[in-house]
Symmetry: C2
Subunit: 140 residues, 2 copies
Amino acid sequence: MFTTPQEAEQAFYQALRQADLALMMRVWADDEDIVCIHPGGVRVAGHVAVHDAWQQIFNNGPVVINPVQPLIMSSVMSSVHVLIEQITVKMAQGPKTANCYATNVFHKGRSGWKMVMHHASHAPQDVDILGLEDRPDTLH
Amino acid sequence: MFTTPQEAEQAFYQALRQADLALMMRVWADDEDIVCIHPGGVRVAGHVAVHDAWQQIFNNGPVVINPVQPLIMSSVMSSVHVLIEQITVKMAQGPKTANCYATNVFHKGRSGWKMVMHHASHAPQDVDILGLEDRPDTLH
């Protein structure tokens, strides 16, 4: 049981790094309304479809992924996180890191904080997005 | 003032179709936490940066856009909508329609329902994503 959205999000990225499908599905709310969009992929909705999409990804093994620079908007029972995912992929020429933007939404229910939505998409590769001062608290 | 997230979302797409920057900014919450990601673009955060990003888009005139197949997750003071945006662009060879996935998040505050997050990204162009039965209520 996750008592904060941050805990749930940590478990989400741990599940990715360990290709741990059981942990991944404990992060998600157990209902038909959940939605997941992987980078370049189609929208999948509902517990079974989301489970199957992660299983397909985890069939390729653990994902080397590092979430950075989160922007967080919190409401009473809901928390919205928009962050940069640094994903490292093994290529013939050596490891290559690509950046994605991810929006993660968590809702608070009877069983604590659970993910209800994950939308990830490729960030522009020709821009140093980690160097952008795109967080209002970094502007002055 | 928008009394439901649906009203706010309708105004959002009306603002796009009319290139109406004032209406667009009435849809967004007036605070520093808002975040916007346009398809293929960089993350922008805060009222000023979001305003400037829309101004740049509206400099090219109205956007022919049709939101379809929404999936909606509601919480007490928050509503998350994941939908398909059909965007028609004028090309030399004639109009071309491309599909994007968009996640729109609305929060309820003292001034009604306001958008706090918009994340749009290109959907796969080689898949008939409108024909996918990706809504659990269409499965049987």
